[in-house]
């Protein structure tokens, strides 16, 4: 489904990612781990076409998407939940969902499905999104990305700053999406939050992949992973 070959990204002339290569299959969860500033968010942004200068190849569903304009990426079926949610904070919940539906024709059906998944948002459709609680904002960020009906979902620290009940709800949603066949590329800081949902783990350090493992291997032996993360 997603094939990344020698992805190199720059901010101005500074090389942030160095020859990243990995694959992600349908219905699988690939988790990117790494310390702050390692290049995890830049990896997701590069896949979304939001980094000015990239090299290498990104192939999604057999089509080369590297180099195309950022606004064409969601049309291909890639949804994105940015770090810090990045809601359109002065727009209502409904307007945020409308933005998510821009690339889809059967908007009303999709919106209903998404609101069935997050019923609390249905009660708050007219509320300005910036006034929602942190957990509700994260739900909305996820719901907005799901409005694209993605076959690949990029999640950047979706549980950051959330209370345990919300983390469990987000985790449940990820598992449900995985069951539906959505491929998920998940960036996380908290190892324990992802071990039970990830299929594969990638550790990035200074823009390069330094460790890869199947999640079940890591479950058996944490030590090596933790040594890379400095835990």
């Amino acid at each position: 489904m997603l094939k990344v070959e020698n992805l190199t990204s720059y901010y101005s002339n500074i090389k942030i990612l160095k020859n990243l290569s990995f694959n992600l299959e349908k219905g699988k969860v690939l988790c990117l781990l790494g310390r702050n500033g390692a290049g995890k968010t830049t990896t997701l942004k590069s896949l979304m076409g939001l980094v000015d200068k990239t090299e290498g190849k990104i192939i999604f569903n057999g089509e080369k998407i590297s180099g195309i304009s950022a606004h064409l990426i969601p049309q291909k079926g890639i949804g994105y939940v940015p770090q810090g949610r990045r809601l359109f904070s002065e727009l209502t919940v409904e307007e945020n969902l409308e933005i998510g539906l821009l690339t889809r024709k059967k908007g009303e059906n999709i919106k209903n499905n998404v609101l069935t998944m997050f019923p609390r948002l249905r009660e708050r459709l007219d509320q300005i999104s910036g006034t929602l609680s942190g957990g509700e904002q994260q739900m909305l960020a996820l719901a907005r990305a799901l409005c694209i009906e993605p076959s690949l979902l990029l999640l950047d620290e979706p549980t950051e700053g959330l209370q345990p009940s919300m983390i469990s709800l987000i985790r449940k949603s990820i598992l449900e999406l995985k069951k539906q066949g959505v491929a998920i590329l998940l960036v996380e800081q908290r190892v324990e939050a992802i071990l039970s949902i990830a299929d594969e783990i990638l550790v990035i350090e200074n823009g390069s992949i330094v460790y890869t493992a199947e999640a079940n291997e890591v479950v058996k032996d944490h030590k090596k992973l933790y040594s890379f993360l400095g835990v």
Partner: protein, 293 residues
């Protein structure tokens, strides 16, 4: 004339001024709000609207109403196209960098100004009013056309508000204004949005010019003063706030009109500039602006 009627007269003059100023400032505010660039060339799009109004109406001499209607249609379109071309040729390549675009729009200002001078000459050009009716307001007579200017400006302001608040295109603009990177991640083609907004900002200023040019005259240097006042308006109102822009335009336009009638236009400008300093000290983001994190 007694003080009361004189004050009413000055207020009406101020309202006409405020109406046109709100259109010019609206264009400037729209461009800053969505694109985050300070368009120093904005006054030249206003000037272009006025000169094009004279040029277009000169084709239908003897029928000022038709000439005016034609100008109202053609001048904003041409000003908008020139603005979109400038965006495509220059601003896009600067990646809308806030500092670089200030310098670039100063360049655009001089190019448009000197092109207007070379094409249409240095003379002030009069444009006839589309209708010449004088309303008797008991104490004094007042041009019906000036009421039309106020009315037309209100209609245009309401139309822009409706587009922004109630249409899908307005939703795209607001989303781009709030977070252009995330907007792209949801399929919004921000370079197209920027181009349209830059064109629309210029076109709205040009409409203001077409409306005012039968009262003033068209001249290639007429863009400077409205630009200064429009900056004052958007700073007082809050950069990027449409509501604030209209409120500040009424405040500045009315005070400018009244002070100009009672004292002098120079004093009006001095007081408006002092008001900016005062507002910036009390509310650095303007009356209706919000702090961006």
């Amino acid at each position: 004339m007694d003080l009361g009627p004189y004050l009413l007269f000055a207020s009406l003059e101020g309202l006409v001024h405020a109406a046109v100023l709100s259109l010019i400032a609206l264009g400037l505010s729209l461009v800053f709000g969505v694109m985050r660039i300070v368009n120093v060339a904005h006054g030249e799009f206003f000037m272009l609207g006025a000169i094009l109004a004279w040029w277009v109406s000169s084709f239908v001499l003897g029928n000022p109403a038709l000439g005016f209607l034609l100008a109202l249609l053609v001048a904003p379109i041409i000003a908008g196209i020139i603005a979109m071309f400038s965006d495509w040729l220059i601003l896009k390549h600067l990646k809308y960098d806030p500092e670089a675009t200030i310098i670039a729009t100063i360049g655009i200002l001089y190019i448009i100004q000197q092109a207007a001078l070379m094409t249409f000459g240095p003379d002030a050009r009069p444009v006839e009013q589309p209708f010449n009716v004088r309303l008797d307001l008991y104490w004094f007579g007042f041009s019906a056309y000036k009421f039309f200017v106020i009315f037309a400006s209100i209609i245009l302001l309401l139309s822009v508000w409706l587009v922004m608040a109630k249409t899908k295109f307005g939703l795209l603009l607001r989303a781009t204004q709030l977070d252009s990177e995330t907007a792209q991640a949801f399929g919004i083609p921000i370079s197209t949005v920027y181009s349209l907004v830059f064109g629309a900002g210029a076109a709205i200023a040009a409409v203001g010019a077409v409306l005012i040019v039968p009262i003033q005259q068209a001249h290639y240097l007429m863009g400077g003063e409205p630009l200064l006042l429009a900056f004052i308006v958007v700073i007082i109102g809050g950069l990027g706030s449409l509501r604030g822009t209209v409120a500040a335009a009424v405040l500045i336009g009315m005070s400018d009109g009244i002070i100009s009638v009672f004292f002098s236009p120079t004093l009006a400008k001095i007081l408006a500039t002092l008001l900016v300093v005062f507002v910036l000290l009390i509310r650095p983001n303007g009356l209706f602006g919000t702090a961006k994190v």
